[in-house]
């Protein structure tokens, strides 16, 4: 895990700024509060993605201003995760004992988040595929090997068990992913990745 450093290596005219650990961040992405965002490496943040790292626990809780001075991590994203265009990633918030509090958001490895999603989940585990235009309401917990179909609205506080397929408004479990979820044959003809599998090839192809 390495904190994203702004413009560690300038690429001449590319769409993406690539960091030392291999993260690719689009020049057109909106990222606020960079100090509170962690990218695991080989992670892609596409254009028009909005990462709200400025919404941290310390900034909003007025009762204890600047608890230790060090800003806490509000969004942490794992390795080989792809956040597609137009997606908003925002830490979940709730009214707790009279105070609005933001909680950290954790996204695992090899997660694909489709275009124009709205993510306010508490945690998304590894090997999760989220379709386009999906909405994850606050404090959703997504476990491993889950497929969220496009245009789903996952209601707040829902816990999605491992190996399930989720769809609908509100989302409910509509099926299970097969045993072969994420199993990829190495060296495929130009398609080195499948949904839920290792997204390294996909990350490599994005430039």
């Amino acid at each position: 895990m390495s904190t994203r450093t702004t413009a560690s290596r300038k690429v001449a005219k590319g769409e993406y700024i690539e960091t030392d650990s291999g993260n690719k961040v689009s020049r057109r992405a909106n990222i606020s509060g960079t100090a509170n965002i962690t990218l695991g490496g080989k992670t892609v943040i596409m254009a028009d993605v909005h990462l709200r790292g400025d919404l941290t626990r310390t900034s909003s809780s007025s009762s204890k201003p600047g608890a230790d001075g060090k800003p806490s991590t509000s969004i942490s994203i794992g390795r080989c995760t792809v956040v597609s265009t137009g997606t908003v990633v925002k830490p979940p918030m709730r009214m707790s004992r009279g105070v609005f509090t933001f909680y950290p958001l954790k996204i695992g490895d090899n997660v694909f988040i489709g275009p124009n999603c709205h993510i306010q989940a508490a945690s998304i585990s590894s090997h999760v595929h989220i379709g386009a235009h999906a909405v994850l309401q606050p404090f959703v917990m997504v476990r491993e090997n889950v497929k969220i179909l496009p245009h789903s609205v996952v209601p707040a506080g829902m816990i999605i068990p491992p190996n399930s397929v989720v769809a609908g408004r509100p989302a409910r479990i509509v099926g299970e992913v097969g045993e072969g979820w994420g199993v990829v044959v190495p060296g495929g003809g130009g398609e080195g990745w499948v949904e839920g599998g290792d997204l390294r090839e996909l990350v490599r192809s994005i430039r």
């Binding site: 190996n163 097969g178 495929g188 003809g189 130009g190």
Partner: protein, 503 residues
């Protein structure tokens, strides 16, 4: 399943029940037959039996439950509890009766400051719709063990009390007992009749004893029937008594409640009734006011066996927290993977990087104009395989098109050394070919363990707009298994259904 274009379905041999006994029988698979839909699966749903050398779909595997767990709290539920309590979570996991979203337990009066502790009463609220347990007058003293508190609380009286105009119908004499739930009535009836059987079965020759097949009495009676000794005097069966009191489980028709129902329907209209899927999850409720929170149903982890030879095909680890498998033989690592993309377009991977996201590059076919696609076959086996492709000249389905595979027979290299390709990639140009004009009889491009051939598609002139084109491809794979005789020749039908909208 949301379809992602293009998709590929693989046919399972279970479409032809004779296939397992006659492997050399050449049955043609008709992908347009209505029955075919039951044996076409995406590759990730298919398993592979290493004993039968066949693909196994969910239809031809037998499942064994490894463990039960609640999808909401992710606690394992022992199977004894499942038997006694039913297939539902016994903690505090409940779903909204209106929209099935998981309910949250909240205090009725949220504390104003951080110093206050959470005090009751508590209610269940739906974070998605506006339903809360206040709608059915349910409050809880504690935020935990909702199930225990729910079972303790009585079903609330109907919120709109009906004064019956007809004095004949109202029963002023006896106070109305609490209406019993369907489960309670069943339990009472069950206990009553079980009791009858155990009492009456002692009397030989009782009519009802004939139904208690497994009782020792029935067996002795049967033995007596065939014994040559003196005939037993057949006694007249004692008459069975029926349930007579509400304690026995008797439910009398209550005209009052029927009138009540009619009145409530008239007052509330269709909106007041539970319909469709809501009634399905709340079987006892008829009105919205009666809908109770639904305990979340348990899920299982299951092991799968081949139905033909009982070989374990997949067995997950019994712990809830892990998603690993002890045994897992997926089809993807035993049969070649088939993919399709338009000629000239880059691989599917790059389609994502566009601003439009996935599906941005779904091309459309023009009637009577030939379009070219690259059909790729990836070999997961550690031996080189000989592949023969075949397809019907004209496709069936909503879009008529003439399909030609330019190179139907070729060899695909073994899935051996990843380093070869990795080194070749660094050197530039890992795959050979991929340029020029598509030519009949020539492989378009080739990699370490994959081959791409060109498919020409000419849609008919009267192609329907907005429909999808499915191409059925028969894939025959032959390989020499080293030292293994029974795997020397192998037939496998893959049906590739790549889809493009036409028009």
């Amino acid at each position: 399943m949301a379809t992602q274009f293009p998709y590929t379905y693989y046919s399972c041999p279970c479409i032809n029940p004779t296939d397992s006994t006659l492997p050399e029988q050449d049955d043609t698979f008709d992908p347009s037959s209505p029955r075919a839909a039951f044996s076409l699966y995406p590759l990730e749903h298919l398993l592979y039996c290493t004993e039968c050398h066949q693909v196994r779909c969910p239809r031809c595997t037998a499942e064994e439950v490894v463990c039960w767990y609640c999808p909401s709290c992710l606690f394992e539920v022992p199977s004894s509890t499942v038997r006694s309590e039913g297939n539902q979570c016994t903690r505090s996991c409940y779903n909204c009766p209106q929209c099935t979203a998981p309910l949250a337990v909240n205090p009725l009066d949220p504390p104003e400051s951080t110093s206050e502790t959470l005090t009751g009463p508590f209610i269940l609220t739906c974070p998605y719709c506006t339903w809360s347990s206040l709608d059915i007058d349910l409050k809880f003293d504690k935020p935990n063990n909702i199930t225990g508190q729910l079972s303790g609380s009585k079903r609330p009286e109907p919120s709109t009390p009906v004064d019956t105009p007809d004095p004949d119908l109202s029963r002023a004499s006896s106070p109305k007992p609490d209406p019993k739930t369907r489960d309670e009535v069943f339990t009472a009836l069950n206990a009553f009749y079980k009791n009858q059987i155990t009492h009456d079965v002692d009397a030989p020759g009782h009519a009802f004893a004939e139904q208690a097949f497994s009782s020792p009495h029935s067996i002795s009676r049967l033995l007596n029937l065939y014994s040559t000794g003196k005939k037993l005097k057949r006694q007249r069966p004692k008459p069975m008594s029926e349930a007579l009191t509400p304690a026995d489980g008797l439910v009398l028709f209550d005209p009052e409640s029927e009138l009540d129902t009619i009145k409530r329907t008239a007052a509330g209209g269709w909106e007041g009734t539970l319909g469709g899927d809501k009634a399905a999850i709340n079987t006892e409720a008829r009105f919205v006011d009666d809908a109770r929170p639904v305990a979340s149903l348990l899920r299982t982890k299951r092991a799968k066996r081949c139905r033909a030879c009982r070989t374990l095909l997949s067995r997950p680890e019994p712990k809830i927290s892990t998603t690993r498998y002890k045994i897992r033989v997926v089809a993807g690592s035993n049969v070649p993977r088939v993919g399709l993309r338009p000629l000239g377009a880059k691989a599917r991977a790059t389609a994502v990087s566009g601003l439009g996201g996935l599906g941005a590059e779904v091309p459309s076919l023009k009637p009577l104009l030939p379009s070219h696609f690259v059909l790729t076959l990836t070999n997961p086996l550690f031996d080189a395989v000989k592949v023969t492709l075949a397809t019907a000249r004209d496709t069936t389905g909503p879009v008529k098109a003439r399909v030609t595979i330019l190179c139907p027979a070729f060899e695909v290299g073994a899935n051996t050394d990843v380093w070869d390709e990795a080194l070749a990639r660094d050197g530039g140009g890992g795959s050979q070919g991929g340029g020029g004009v598509p030519e009949a009889g020539k492989v378009w491009e080739r990699g370490r363990n994959w081959v791409g051939v060109v498919v020409e598609v000419v849609p008919a002139g009267d192609a329907v707009r907005g429909e999808v084109l499915e191409i059925a491809v028969f894939v025959r794979v032959e390989y020499e298994a080293g030292g293994d005789l029974d795997g020397a020749g192998k037939r496998e039908v893959g049906f590739c259904n790549p889809i493009w909208s036409s028009g």
